[in-house]
Amino acid sequence: MPEISRRDFLKLTRDGFLYLSGALALSGLLRFLSFQTEPALQTEFDLGPAENYPLNSRTFLADVPAILLHTNNGFSALSLTCTHLGCTVEHNNDGFTCPCHGSRYDPAGNVTRGPAKNPLRPLLVEKTPDGLLILYTN
């Protein structure tokens, strides 16, 4: 094994520390530059082809949350966010019930029991020329 001089050893050690430090600093910089903020709240939902929702169907959309109605008048949607404090209401035979404070709404979203005072919010549903349904929560 060849002997290494003291000078070379110190140089090697210095360079090693410098390279490792550089690598650490560079990875930190890359991490900093690649930081991504949380995505904004989704306000537009692609519901897919309209024919997936037959006439007189009521489809629960958990991601929104909302319920999509298909009647003779076309497509419409109701937000399932309780107008009292914002809990997600549950769909049942009589309409909707808030699991947090017991507000009740009829199938059309009108309040039948407090503490909520306002009806469930209607949401805009549009059908694109190629037959897709888009739901907007704004």
């Binding site: 000078r7 110190l10 140089k11 050690t13 210095r14 520390f17 410098l18 490792l20 430090s21 650490l24 600093a25 930190g28 949380e38 709240l41 966010t81 009292h84 404090l85 914002g86 809990c87 997600t88 699991p99 947090c100 404070h101 017991g102 009740r104 039948t112 029991r113 407090g114 503490p115």
Partner: protein, 402 residues
Amino acid sequence: MRKLIVVATAILFLSLSLAWWLNARQPKPVELIPALTGQSEYCLTCHADLPEISSSHPIKTFGCVRCHGGERLALDASLAHSTMRGGANPSDLSVVEISCGGSNCHSGSEADDRNHIQRVMTSVQSTYAGAIANIRFTFGAQTDLIAHFGINAITDEETKTGLTSLSAFNPASDDNSFIQKFGDNCLTCHLNSIPREGPLYARQTGCAACHSTAQHTLTTAIPYTQCNACHNRGNYDLRSMTFMERADQPIIRIEDYYQPIAQFTQCEYTLDCVDCHTRSEIMGDGDIHSNQKDIQYVQCKTCHGTLTQLPLTTTLTDPNDIAFRMSFLNPVVDIKIGDTMIVTEKGEPLWNTRVLPDGTYEMIGKATRQKFIFRPVMGTACEQKPDEQGSQYCHKCHSVER
């Protein structure tokens, strides 16, 4: 010189490594955007293990910051907690209005029966006005038994009791040494006070004093043991002006419920306090009162009637009746329009009761879910005088032996 450069590069490397290591130890941030606030918060990064506080306050809707305060974006514990309200208890009465208030929450209108905070603030459980008035009267500091002082100064312009305000009680400034001692030793049972030490007295302050029976839990199914963190634990000795703990070491319910000297009936110790005593009795009715007796009005006859009168009842016709809200919060019984239940003389429904077709009555324990069937006094051999309806008269025949 070369040696110095090597040492410098080593220090640089170690510093960067330390920074990297510290950064790597940071937990991965967990974001929550509650529906109620719509603002990001990162409390769940460290507190994901806490149980949901109640079904009425789901984390996805409320988040943490709406109630607790704190720095919602901070990942450093000290910084995140630096602006929390009430420490770990945002329901402490010093901060409750900010934490729990709001017209849709707990400081809404009296008409909507959402004035919880206003009611609690003026209640004797909070003001301790009765005890203070009695002590001041007993030791000559006032000439009547009307409340003039409360734990905190409070006003109520719309009071129906004639008491529009209480001044803040400051026993240290009183010349009477007994009143000073009372201030030092005897103010441990009101909703603002730090409880006495020991597991038997363990409770929090504010709303959580009654409604929190376990860590990070809010409930209306309050067992008697929660009430007994203050009640039935002993007596104040007026000579030494100190609290004297009850001497026994009760284990079973019949012995633990009341103090050894107390008389009680079977229903008094089998039921929980909240099964009979109403919201306005316990949380206050929104008015300032001079003592507990002014606000506590439920008696044996509320459920059992008298020899000449059946208990008052009401049949539910309004879907917004408070009975529905109460049974929703603590669903021990499924009530519906058309149900007939006992109602107090002030019109408060005992929503956990029901009139049965055979003329008897049913009560479901709010904390135990136990079913109790009971009869009215009318038509029995009871000889109770109509004007003697206090429990002490019923105890003469119906008290149980321990």
